[in-house]
């Protein structure tokens, strides 16, 4: 059996029919990880023992017939999610060997549905990066070309699905961290509306932008995963008490009669020609499926990268203050007193990109600069949000590229942070607006690198973009291709 050709629902059918046990499935998954991860480095921690124990429980549940949606199915989560008893490093030396006393809400929901958590996925340290090169656990490699980055920060989450290590994963998306790696790895990734999924237990990078998102090999699995983790959580004040629809129910509703907006600011001259070609073809496919396509404008798009980095870094500078060596994690203390301990711990514990963002964020909040930077960025954010609000009164959803280029080479942009920041140019505005968006495979470049298509929906209209994505997936076969490893 070719394990990674199965979808979640196919696995479930086999498990329920008794053709396969969860132990077998989990062992195959662990073997696949063993066989491929020396090349990919997608995992920071593989928890074989705990996974097999959970699989044994799942098999019992399957035998008794009371088996919820994900019973016995191996899943992995980004190492930004706190997991009881298994270390949570967030890709940082400062949390090396940190073990959380509690599960993140999203992880708890996976467990409630019977999922077998097989491990913790590699990522840019504290989710700060667009290439998964900034990890204390080392660089993640793109399964389609091991010399290239998988995108970031949820690079491990996308690479693991693309390479068939696991069928689905959870990532987080603050400025494109689910969609951009999904695009670079040729898988489906969704960033829900801010508030759709609880952030409780997800290590904070930029609290007003962070959102949990699923990554899967196809649209239906992505929809199923979203249904599991979505919903109001009293432990997260910013989660929204809004009913969660059954995302699978009307997945095949089609796009006939839908109005798709093409924001002209996203189809810029510098766009990689392969990407332009793939996205144009996708537009044509949608027209053939009966959708109407119109040009729209999001006039403040140009300011979004600057706005995003100011807000994200300001929030990060505060969110990361708790890593001070006092209560948990790394502590370096050569006896120079309290301030010395803080400085040594944080100097040794954080990587360069994290330090850069803490310093810039601290600066943006400092007295005398707050108005010019942080406050101005908040005002711009309001304008960007208004852009989306306006455009959604004209169209049902937006269609854009995910990234301006396919996956770049490892090391290509590490010394040019600004160039790196611009790789999130098409994904950032939706985080600022708080609305939902997803990435799905829509073609390949001349170099056989996957290209992603972005659908941006109205707030809490995840079902609508999933339906549109499903229609596209049915009409094409881009998601059927898998990398050779």
């Amino acid at each position: 059996m070719k394990f990674h050709d199965l979808s979640i629902q196919e696995m479930r059918q086999k498990l329920l029919a008794g053709e396969l046990t969860s132990i077998e499935l989990t062992q195959q998954c662990l073997q696949r990880i063993k066989a491929t991860d020396s090349q990919l480095n997608a995992f920071i921690t593989v928890c074989e023992e705990e996974a097999l124990a959970a699989a044994a429980v799942a098999d019992q549940q399957l035998a008794t017939g009371s088996a919820p949606l994900l019973t016995g199915i191996p899943i992995a989560v980004k190492d930004i999610f706190n997991t009881l008893d298994v270390r949570t490093t967030c890709g940082s030396k400062i949390l090396d060997n940190y073990i959380s006393p509690y599960d993140a809400t999203a992880v708890a929901k996976l467990r409630e549905q019977g999922a077998v958590i097989v491990g913790k996925l590699n990522m840019d340290e504290f989710a700060m990066g667009s290439s998964s090169e900034n990890s204390a656990a080392g660089v993640v490699h793109n399964p389609w070309d091991l010399e290239r980055v998988p995108g970031g920060s949820s690079g491990g989450s996308a690479a693991a699905v693309a390479s068939g290590q696991v069928v689905a994963t959870l990532g987080t998306d603050t400025g494109g961290s689910v969609r951009q790696p999904a695009s670079h790895c040729g898988v489906v990734g969704l960033k829900p509306t801010y508030g759709r999924v609880s952030r409780y237990g997800v290590i904070a990078y930029a609290s007003s932008l962070d959102q949990v998102g699923p990554v899967a090999g196809n649209v239906a699995d992505c929809a199923l995963m979203l249904g599991v983790v979505a919903g109001y959580d009293p432990a997260d004040s910013t989660s929204v008490d809004c009913p969660v629809p059954d995302y699978l129910e009307n997945l095949n509703a089609g796009v006939a009669g839908k109005k798709i907006g093409l924001p002209k600011e996203y189809f810029i001259d510098g766009l990689d020609p392969d990407i332009k070609k793939a996205v144009d073809a996708a537009i044509e496919t949608y027209q053939q499926l009966g959708a109407e396509v119109v040009s729209v404008t999001l006039p403040h798009t140009d300011y979004s990268v600057a706005c995003y980095y100011l807000i994200a870094m300001a929030e990060a500078s505060s969110n990361l203050a708790r890593y001070d060596g006092v209560r948990f994690g790394l502590r370096q203390d050569s006896g120079d007193g309290l301030i010395g301990m803080y400085q040594q711990t944080r100097s040794a514990g954080f990587g360069d990109e994290v330090k850069r963002r803490i310093m810039l964020g601290t600066y943006a909040l400092s007295s005398g600069y707050y108005e010019a930077y942080y406050l101005k960025a908040q005002k711009v954010r309001t304008l960007i949000r208004q852009d989306f609000h306006d455009v959604f009164s004209q169209v049902d959803f937006l269609l854009t590229p995910v990234a301006p280029t396919p996956a770049f080479k490892i090391g290509e942009k590490v010394n040019d942070p600004l160039q790196m920041y611009l790789s999130d140019i098409f994904t950032i505005p939706t985080n600022l607006a708080g609305t939902c968006a997803m990435s799905l495979p829509c073609g390949f470049s001349k170099n056989e690198l996957p290209i992603g298509l972005q659908l941006i929906g109205k707030p809490f209209a995840e079902a609508e973009i999933l339906q549109a994505a499903y229609a596209f997936e049915q009409a094409t076969d881009w998601n059927k291709r898998v990398p050779e490893l």
């Binding site: 959380s100 409780y200 290590i203 004040s237 203050a321 708790r322 001070d324 309290l338 400092s366 942080y374």
Partner: protein
Amino acid sequence: MNSRYEVVIGLEVHVQLTTRTKIFCGCSTEFGQGVNSQTCPVCLGLPGALPVLNRQVVEDAIKAGLATNCQITPRSIFARKNYFYPDLPKGYQISQFELPICEHGWLDIETEELGGKRLGITRIHMEEDAGKLLHNSDNSSSVDLNRACTPLLEVVSEPDMRSSEEAIAYLKQLHQIVVYLGICDGNLDEGSFRCDANVSIRPWGQKELGTRSELKNLNSFRYIKQAIEYEVERQIDVIDAGEKVVQETRLFDPDAGVSRSMRGKEEAHDYRYFPDPDLLPVDVSADWIEQVRKSLPELSTAKLQRYQGEIGLPAYDAGVISSDRPLAEYFEAVVKHYNNPKICSNWVMGEVLGALKDKKLEISACPVTPELLAGVLIRIDDKTISGKIAKTVFEKIWQTGNTADQIIEEKGLKQVTDTGAIEAIVDEVIAANPDQVAEYRGGKEKLMGFFVGQVMKASKGKANPGMANQLLKKKL
């Protein structure tokens, strides 16, 4: 009052709320529990944990705001105050900066020196407390985070006070209010009511404020007064010596009676306040404010006025009883059962408070309930017992918890009102004291007290003193 300088004082008071759980998590706020036993991922500041606002804290803040004549902000915002310290788990304190929950209030105070004066309250905001550092014998430190994330209200006054007396009057009134509202236990020793004072001086007539120093660690009204007075003298000395007062934080040492500069430590702090993205704005509807307003207890100042006016208690009694909400409620309950406020107040001020003081008890623990006390007063009123016997009855009630009627019955304490019986005793007393009788008849009328006393003694206190008096007069 200084002849050359005007003193300017502003106060910041931290009121620890008595909510059952902390402000942003479900941990208990109980004092004196095992180190770090009242903690969870949220108040430990663990990665990924998020705050959830305790609605009771908002309600308590609204109460405090209404009781201090503040405007309640319809949409207030929590902000992060960023600084590093080992007792601050997240590296920031969740507080309010722009848009606090209450603004623009005032309190009216009275001092002997000046009479009445209105003092402004700039703002009241909600925030979380920090933990507590414990210094170990080996020179290391540990941190107890039981107190971290317990709810505080910070009440910031305008710099309206002009003497330590005014400052104390303001503080006492604020203290009384928060305790009356039931939102703070008012315990200064345990730090439930902490005060920082900003003190400056300026030549009389000068408009601009002088440079202020901030006095910290003031945990009794007496220390606050001492610290302010010490600081005023110190600033006068500094200026008189031709030097300038520097803006600084000073820690008061009550043992030495002096304050010391904490210079360096607090210097040039930039707290980088910004709205906390983990918490939604706090929306307070007009309906909610109205509900809270209706639920407010009658406050001490209102009671004081009512006791003096409507009820007609002497100023002193009215002051004592209204100053303490449980005492006032006790008093009012007694009056409910026996509608003679003056007599009730006499007994509450006398027997009840006296006995409580002897036994070192709080009014809430008084074994003589208002109803039991009223039972005694009713029996005095209907002349079943005399005032004197009533004191014995009160003691017995204290010991047994029985009603006055049970005790009167059981011990045979019923007042003798039978003329014949009293007359017999009167005759005996007259016969036994021929010398005094002669003196009385010779014009020494003061001796009447002696005869009444003898009759009461002989009757073991049960004779009706009025009747004894009448009969003695007749027979003598």
